[in-house]
């Protein structure tokens, strides 16, 4: 993807909504673009050595013990909880269609978030929402 197009795409995502153009360019520069074909696993349940992923295009299923728990699409992200906790992913993340992602290697996530507190705050809000949803489901 052309660097300018990528910055435009990022600008439309909630996670990066508070960043100006220059900071978005830095994000585009920090992450690596990667793609997967339908059916390919991006994260493997129980396996370490993963990264942080932001979906540019396509959809993934979050699959635990063979059961689909959620579907994620453009602008959604995954992999951050395993990295932050230093644990293996608790789900498979499987491309449902041709998938394009931005990827950040495990060791780089924390320093990236510290450099961009606005992104970290968006991530916190997203986790807070997930926690509320999980709580509601449980009760």
């Amino acid at each position: 993807m052309d660097r300018d197009d990528l910055v435009d795409t990022l600008a439309g995502m909630a996670l990066f909504a508070d960043l100006g153009r220059v900071r978005l360019q830095e994000v585009a520069h920090t992450f690596i673009e990667d793609s997967f074909s339908a059916g390919q696993r991006v994260l493997r349940q129980g396996f370490s050595g993963t990264g942080f992923y932001v979906i540019l295009d396509g959809q993934v299923a979050v699959r635990i013990d063979g059961t689909d728990r959620a579907t994620l699409g453009k602008g959604d992200f995954f992999g951050e909880m395993s990295l932050l906790l230093g644990e293996a992913p608790v789900a498979d993340v499987v491309a449902l269609a041709p998938l394009r992602v931005l990827q950040l290697g495990g060791p780089d996530l924390e320093s990236f978030l510290k450099r961009h507190p606005e992104v970290m705050f968006r991530m916190l809000q997203s986790l807070a929402r997930r926690l509320r949803t999980a709580n509601t489901r449980q009760s």
Binding site: L84, L85, A88, L113, M123, L124, L127, L131, R132
Partner: protein, 143 residues
């Protein structure tokens, strides 16, 4: 007698949420927190209410109760109430003092700028929330 700044810093340094925070930053945080005392049975936070701060337990224990069900027990060094600050939504559960409880309270209008100035606090918070999401989903590997 209210705690001195140095005493507050020593207490804050033991809180997981502030792990890795520099001493000068802890001193600034000490100026922001206020000590609050609760008695047995007091509601420290109430389910459904809008929250305007987070709490850090200094002494005593409290239980987390949602819709009549006991969910967890909290003690010294534990912090709670950050969710309502992060997403400005009502409190998800009651936190009720078991006996006398002393807390630090940190107002949301002080916490939010702090997360930008001391991003390590936000990282600690992300870890804590991640851990809670995983344990709720019954898929935590650590405990």
């Amino acid at each position: 007698m209210p705690a001195s700044t140095q005493e507050k810093v020593a207490q804050l340094a033991r809180v997981q949420l502030f792990g890795g925070v520099s001493r000068p930053a802890l001193e600034r945080i000490a100026e922001l927190v206020g000590e609050i005392d609760f008695s047995a049975g007091d509601y420290i936070v109430r389910q459904g209410q809008l929250g305007n701060g987070l709490y850090i337990i200094l002494s005593g224990t409290a239980r987390v109760v949602r819709s009549g069900e006991d969910l967890a027990r909290l003690g010294p060094g534990d912090s709670f109430g950050e969710l309502a600050v992060i997403d400005r939504s009502p409190r998800m559960a009651n936190v009720i003092a078991d006996g006398p409880v002393t807390c630090f309270g940190l107002a949301s209008w002080d916490l939010l700028p702090l997360l930008e100035k001391e991003p390590i606090i936000a990282v600690n918070m992300l870890r804590e929330l991640s851990s809670r999401v995983r344990s709720l989903a019954g898929m935590h590997h650590r405990h």
